[in-house]
Amino acid sequence: MSEHDYKRDFPVFEKYPDIAYLDNSATTQKPQAVIDAVSRYYREENANPLRGLYELAVKATDAYENARIAVRDFIGAASEREIIFTRNASESLNLIAYSWGRANIRENDEILVTISEHHSNFLPWQILANEKRAKLKFLKCSETGEYTAEALKKALTPRTKLFAIAQISNVFGRVNPIKEFAEICRANGTLIVCDGAQSVPHIPVDVRELGVDFLAFSGHKMLAPMGIGVLYGREELLEEMPPFLYGGEMIEFVTLCGATFAELPHKFEAGTVNAGGAVGLHAAIDYINAIGFNEIERRENELTKLLVTEMQQVPHINIVGSHDPDEHHGIVTFTIDDVHPHDIAAIFDESGVCIRAGHHCAQPLHKYLGVQSTVRASVAFYNDENDVRRFMDCLKTIRRRMGYSD
């Protein structure tokens, strides 16, 4: 498939040469370049960013702010003022709900959410709607996980203030037509919140090209350390929004009876920031850019195709979503007749194959699809055919292991 063995860039595979890591939608492994960058930051550049008036603190500030510029360029934002560092996509989405939501959602307003959203892009809106006595409405998909423009147009009303949708569902793996949906939302005066947790690591994402109002994603799903995430928001929206958390280094001026707040983006970054994480995210972006999305997508699509087509040959395997491998983007969620997903995961574990079992933080979708839980294999560019072979060899034995004759 490739001349280059990317696994060599990832120390975890040196330590565990025999695992087939197919849980990349949960989190990715970290390349040496990212580990080194974080280590270098703490060895050579650490001080509290944005505060100190000495050289080392300036270095720390530069390292942190350079990471913001790298993120800006990576997702095509107009300004680094539009890039807020958070802990992860969940915090980014909560920030929107708490700050924009509480200032703008009123009784009888409507919030539209897709039925396949991750709990992160679902619960903040459910809580907000309950609190404001607004109406939470659900956009439903077809059995293959497809959302249509017609259905969206029908679901929007003059009262729909916000539409929350993932660019790629963590269960279906299908890419939603965000650009088209953003246009429909704009025409209706509805803001669009896009969860990019599963898309930003795997396909080129340009926020201005897509026309989204907000985009949230996590660093740890794209080779960076855990604990660093991003919220992109259009500058005029962020300007109007009140702070989310209050505390250190997000103020302009504080008196005993009030305060004025710092400018963007620091208004939304109260307290000491995760500079080491941001530096790690910067290194992850550099690493991804050096490989390029052409190569990343080519490898991931090839592996996905191999997985889906081989799985389709095995009886009693039911793939969730489309039968077309091109609609899966590295994510293949499935069930096996008569075998509980937790038993499936345990048997894979015995063979050193790491996959996820459960509801994948998408319980409403599982209920909608009529399944209790599912199993998910998800690939990254550093996986290879051998990982798929290991997965398939084990998959074929599972029903027999559980006592079934075929």
């Binding site: 937790h342 015995e350 559980m402």
Partner: protein, 137 residues
């Protein structure tokens, strides 16, 4: 690593003896593992301090279903005090603290001993036992 999908477990999962409704039982109780979605209803008939009959219904992974079935095999016909004692031994075994003689005392339930190496599955194995202990405790 682990080898708990042995014949005893798969057999009890595929052909459970005690998985059925039980009319005129003296008590029944729901046991749920919310994170896995395992759910069972355990029914017991207790007369004069003896478990004279029992059954379960519900759904879940093989570990939870087989464990509940094996447990009922063991405790039906025994006194409530003996059932409580077996529950204690089972909990001990699942946490990897039981000696071979204690595991022997658990008879077929001893086939689940390897689950002590799989922390994520401990609650599956315990579901039936925990529910029974709550009923007779």
């Amino acid at each position: 690593m682990t080898n708990f999908y042995n014949e005893i477990l798969t057999d009890h999962n595929m052909h459970p003896v005690h998985k059925h409704e039980l009319s005129c039982c003296t008590c029944s109780r729901d046991g749920i593992n919310p994170s896995c979605g395992d759910e069972i209803t355990l029914n017991l008939n207790v007369e004069n301090g003896v478990i004279t009959d029992g059954s379960f219904t519900g759904s879940g992974c093989a570990v939870s279903q087989a464990s509940a079935d094996i447990m009922l095999d063991l405790v039906i016909g025994k006194s409530v005090e003996d059932a409580k004692h077996l529950h204690e031994l089972f909990v001990k075994m699942i946490h990897g603290d039981a000696c071979p003689a204690e595991i022997d005392e658990l008879e077929e339930a001893g086939a689940l001993a390897d689950i002590s190496h799989m922390p994520a599955r401990v609650k599956c194995a315990l579901l039936g036992w925990r529910t029974m202990a709550e009923m007779v405790g």
